[in-house]
Amino acid sequence: MASRALYSPRHPMLKKRDDFEDILEERRRSSDLRYALRCYTPTLYRGLVPCKASMLKSIVLQSDHLQYVIKQVSSESGESTEGVSEEASLILDEMAHCLQLSTIRFFAFTLSKAFKRLFRSVCVNEEGIQRLQQAVQEHPVVLLPSHRSYMDFLMMSYLLYTYDLPLPVIAAGMDFMSMKFVGEMLRMSGAFFIRRSFGGDKLYWAVFSEYVKTMLRNGYAPIEFFLEGTRSRTCKSLTPKTGLLNIVMEPFFKGELFDVNLVPVSISYERILEESLYARELLGIPKPKESTSGLLKARRVLSEDYGSMYVYFGHPVSVRSLAEGKINRSQYNLLPRYIPQKPSADTHEFLSDAAFRLVRIQEENMVLKPWVLIATLLLQNPDGLDLSSLAEQTDWLRHLALAFGAFLDWPDHEACSEVVSCSLALHRHLLSVSAGHVQLSVTDVPQVETTPEEAVFHQAVVVLSCASYRNQILHVFLRPALLAMAMQSANSNRKDDVYNGFNFLRKVFSNEFILCPGDSVQDFEEACYLLMKRGVLQVLEHEIVMSASGHSTLAFLSSVLDPFLQGYQVVCRYLCEETNENLTEKEFIPAVRSFALKLILAGRLKCYEALSSDLQKNALAAFLRLKAVRKVKVGDQVTLKVNKVAVNSLEDILGGKIPTQKPILARL
């Protein structure tokens, strides 16, 4: 039953969501110090095997699994087992957390201060907390928060401390560890560090997976990791990674645990701390290496207003019910369980499917603020809007979004214009407002002379920052928007044709958005259903007909995705026109960026989002997947070989010059 609930996004209007509670309210009223020093007695897992962090290490090192891999590695490499064991022990030392309550208390104090300065409120759904409390007792828990900001895991631990829940251990990227002092602080607050890539390193993988599994099996602490793997710079959810998900599910597959509870957590920010940082990064101004001094410089951040923050703890998803009928656990019966086993094709499919579903739950529980709607509208109107018409359109969009099931936090008893002006105030640094006219623009214009290129980049930062808000609501409009685009480009009203177009777009954009593989029919039906309910379409047996009143909605929907369409077309054009034979993978992004910049400067392109490296990367991945481009390894460099015919026809289809037809798809 639990799995059914997970799989039915059928009636978004009926979706019931919990109410929020502001935890900062209490913090503003009572002493932070007392709060940090209060008695902390978390609810514990009933099957808990009590053990200390140091004991954990020896359990891991002596585990059958690790011992087996050590022997294997030693016989393959010719190194002595002692040597390999030593290596394993060093890996573990580098990786392991050493959770200490004192550090948590320190954070509880300092973060209280910081959060109170940064945020107007931090809202949590307490029913979710209660569900988590229940889940924690029953089975080991894995927390799966969305990842938009560094704040995320600090906030998670802070919340769990606040609500007397067991503190999580958190899988963090190694880059944090290089930050002096802070790395150690994070380690003491429960972070463990994993290398970004360790593809072929058997020993590393063994140590890492055994470490995580041991903590899970013993119920040591909830495991927390980010399905998306890294912070999303665009505020769109990223395609989930399945490696760690497999590790935490394996103890269930192998019967070592009766069940594991996965708890998706959606963390959303009214205003993201890293907002302009991300935009710069996407434009190729490199990400500053994580360093303590960098963090201190970011102090200035503390003096600004970041509105509210929302944390929504979703319903725990039982791995057992997820896997029911999908995973045949007896496939693990014929090999001793300590011998590492690569997941079978079935398991892979299951993992990826589960990961997508979980990310979709995260998306659905993400709180959207009115500003998200405003940002969407402002991006569609680069020349700006009058305040009154902005308010009017925002109101219209609000109803559309609600009808599509958006989790919109709209103030209850306020006039729309009031809400709009409040939102504009919070995000004023992205806007210029003069004489009732609102426009996205660069506000803090640098005094020095700027080159045209620099001016473009300044504007692009604003556009991309703004886009990161629009992106938050994309998942609500995505399916209907794909349908709208498909209808525009299809040359008939026949359902088949529209579906083909829909399916094609879905394929092209499946690196860009969260689209569960294999769900295309379901997505199509959902889109039809939503638009039909809005009275935009009439879906007949073989035809899809637009209603008289549906034009504006369809136009809006297809222009939601327009920047992506244009961006992909730019990448296509670049691949057709500009590439030489030896384009390396590394050169790709800068080359596309300068190509797009040229087009913008020449006035041939208005879409600043084409400059985003995220879009360019996703486009490349899509083209690779569609086999329009392929990677060739030459020496130690990877070059891209472009199938210009295929890319050309892709561009034509995307540009609506040729309708999608089966044969063309086949040729791709």
Binding site: G255, E256, F258, N328, R329, S330, Y332, N333, P336, R337
Partner: protein
């Protein structure tokens, strides 16, 4: 303890025999072995007398387990007692059973669900007789009956749904006729005639099947004849040179053992159902005995099998102990559950009666430690005749069966023991578990063996807990089926099932299956948490046999048997997913063909099952 006295050797031997019969020293507390009651029955020439009459209804229950005179009940004072005179527990008061029963199941003595008192013979459909077959049978001189009572008795085994239906007075399709062959050639004739006249045969031994193997197929249109082997119960010869005995397959376990004992021998094969189950049934279901560590399972004990099939008699041509010509035909027969033919005669290994027997028990702080200890015992290959580890729930269950203590001194002693273990040794009464042991052999070796096992146990935190506890553990297995009938009087239904599993998965399997049962019950609307308990009941080099009891209070459920079956199905699914086998010794063919596919992988499928049956039920 059994044979301290040194009187004449004949006397001593008699004593040994008696001691073995009771599976315990004569002068000790409650025992459950039913043999002793049999021994009390005066019988001038036991080896020729039929211990199970053709009219089983004379001594056995028609809608429950075992003898009609033996049953549990709550008396007027609300105390549990066990009636009859056959068992050591008979006539005793079990003061703590009521509290345990009410506490565990949320049951209440006010809420009764009594069974229909007598068979409603008018509900039995008139027999569908095949007249030519009957005539030929009469000519061949084989005893037969189509008395409704006889037929009803042979229409069921002891699956929950079968007993439940009988208690409600529901009688489904029953055999149209019962035949009692008295020897191998009778069976040959019957099978031949069945083929000739297109009659369906269902072999019937002790009637203790728990795999629905005795259920008559509803869609069967032919005349169904129950072939009751109970009158084929002779030991044909005993070969002391080779230590083998040739026995007719209808003999009941306790009779076989008693008759061999009279000659100073035993087979050592003691399945929990040995009071009622037959040798042919053991062969047909690949049975396993409690003392398999010394004597082996049925497949190790059997030297030669004679089986009558529709295509003739199958048997090996010699009594050699091993043959390289394969596949071994015994492997077809063992576990075929009556689908291939009727087992008529078996040559079995026998052993001299052991000189000395001793029970024992060890308390462990928790189940994990207990399993680790059993694993170590198996690793060192020093398992006693029987070693079983009960989990905490089952330990408490066993405790509830403690008879009333006669003296204040005894109850004081019990209190002291409890204090020592829980307070002094710090064992948590809600986690501790008990291993029960049975040693057998010559006295010196038994004592040495005992020490070895207790030494290993000590390494895993085990404390020796006396013979008494050990014995009570074994008693539980004999009375559990009677207890089920008691439960059914008060809205509680239950059943057992078992599996075998590699050592490293034992703990995970036990935990997951028990939890799955609890969870499934909850999901299916069972109002009270079920009893979900297990014991590790046999050890092997590469794994162990785990036995589950599962029972729940079904008040408020409209179709309790269906719920029960769904939960059991889920539990078996869980077993398979955790690397366990579908069954260690119960047999499965009829009940779980669908799961057999998962359990055995490719070659066995429902199709091949039906073709196999086809041979037995000709023209099927």
């Amino acid at each position: 303890m059994a044979s301290n006295s040194s009187s004449s050797s004949a006397q001593q031997r008699l004593r040994i025999i008696a001691g073995h019969l009771q599976k315990r020293p004569e002068d000790e507390h409650a025992s459950v072995a039913a043999q002793e009651c049999k021994a009390e029955t005066p019988r001038s020439n036991p080896s020729s007398a039929a211990p199970v009459p053709k009219r089983r209804q004379e001594i056995m229950k028609w809608n429950g387990w075992g003898y009609s005179d033996s049953r549990f009940l709550f008396n007027k004072k609300g105390q549990a007692e066990f009636t009859g005179k056959r068992y050591r527990l008979s006539g005793l008061i079990l003061p703590s059973l009521k509290d345990w029963f009410e506490g565990t199941f949320g049951a209440n003595l006010q809420h009764k669900s009594p069974a229909t008192p007598t068979v409603n013979l008018s509900a039995v459909a008139p027999p569908n007789l095949n007249e030519p077959f009957i005539e030929d049978l009469k000519a061949a001189g084989v005893a037969a009956s189509h008395d409704p009572e006889d037929r009803v008795f042979r229409a069921h085994g002891h699956c929950l749904h079968e007993i439940f239906a009988l208690r409600e007075g529901r009688i489904g399709r029953v055999p149209d006729m019962v035949v009692w062959p008295s020897c191998h050639s009778d069976v040959e004739k019957i099978v031949e005639l069945a083929c000739k006249h297109n009659v369906c045969l269902i072999p019937y031994g002790g009637g203790t099947s728990v795999s629905s193997a005795l259920e008559c197929p509803h869609e069967e249109t032919r005349s169904i004849v129950s072939l009751d082997t109970s009158q084929m119960n002779r030991i044909l010869w005993i070969d002391e040179k080779n230590l083998t005995a040739h026995v007719e397959a209808g003999i009941i376990g306790q009779d076989l053992e008693r008759q061999l004992n009279e000659h100073g021998y035993c087979t050592g094969h003691e399945p929990d159902s040995m009071e009622f189950s037959s040798l042919g049934g053991w062969v047909a279901t690949r049975a396993s005995g409690m003392k398999k560590n010394i004597y082996g399972n049925i497949e190790d004990l059997v030297v030669h099998i004679k089986m009558v099939t529709p295509r003739g008699v199958i048997e090996k041509s010699c009594l050699g102990p091993r043959m390289s010509t394969g596949p071994d035909i015994h492997h077809f027969i063992l576990g075929s559950e009556g689908t291939l033919g009727v087992v008529t005669e078996v040559t079995m290994k026998i052993r001299p009666i052991p000189e000395y027997q001793k029970y024992g028990s060890v308390v462990f702080p928790n189940f994990q430690q207990g399993v680790a200890c059993l694993r170590e015992v198996a690793r060192q290959r020093c398992a006693p005749a029987s070693i079983r580890l009960m989990d905490n729930e089952q330990f408490q269950f066993g405790h509830a069966l403690k008879p009333q203590v006669s003296s204040i001194f005894m109850s004081f002693l019990d209190g002291l023991k409890k204090f020592y273990i829980t307070k002094f040794k710090g064992f948590d009464p809600h986690h501790l578990c008990v291993a029960t042991l049975l040693f057998e052999g010559d006295r010196g070796k038994v004592l040495q063996h005992e020490k070895q096992v207790y030494d290993i146990a000590a390494k895993f935190g085990g404390l020796a807990a006396g013979e008494d506890n050990g014995q009570r553990g074994y008693m539980l297995t004999f009375v559990i089926a009677y207890l089920r009938d008691l439960g059914m009087d008060y809205y509680v239904i239950g059943e057992s099932f078992e599996t075998s599993v590699p050592w490293d998965r034992v703990l995970d399997l036990c935990r997951n299956v028990k939890e799955r049962i609890v969870r499934e019950c909850k999901e299916r609307g069972v109002q009270f948490p079920p009893l979900s308990t297990c014991r590790v009941t046999q050890t092997y080099d590469a794994g162990a046999c785990v036995y589950f009891y599962f029972a729940f209070n079904y008040r408020g459920l409209s179709d309790p048997v269906h719920v029960y079956e769904q939960v059991e199905h889920a539990a078996r699914e869980e077993i398979l997913a955790n690397g366990g086998s579908l069954s260690h010794h119960h047999g499965v063919v009829f009940a779980f063909t669908h799961q057999l596919k998962e359990g055995v992988s490719v070659p066995v499928n429902e199709n091949s099952m039906s073709t196999v049956q086809f041979t037995e039920q000709p023209h099927g």
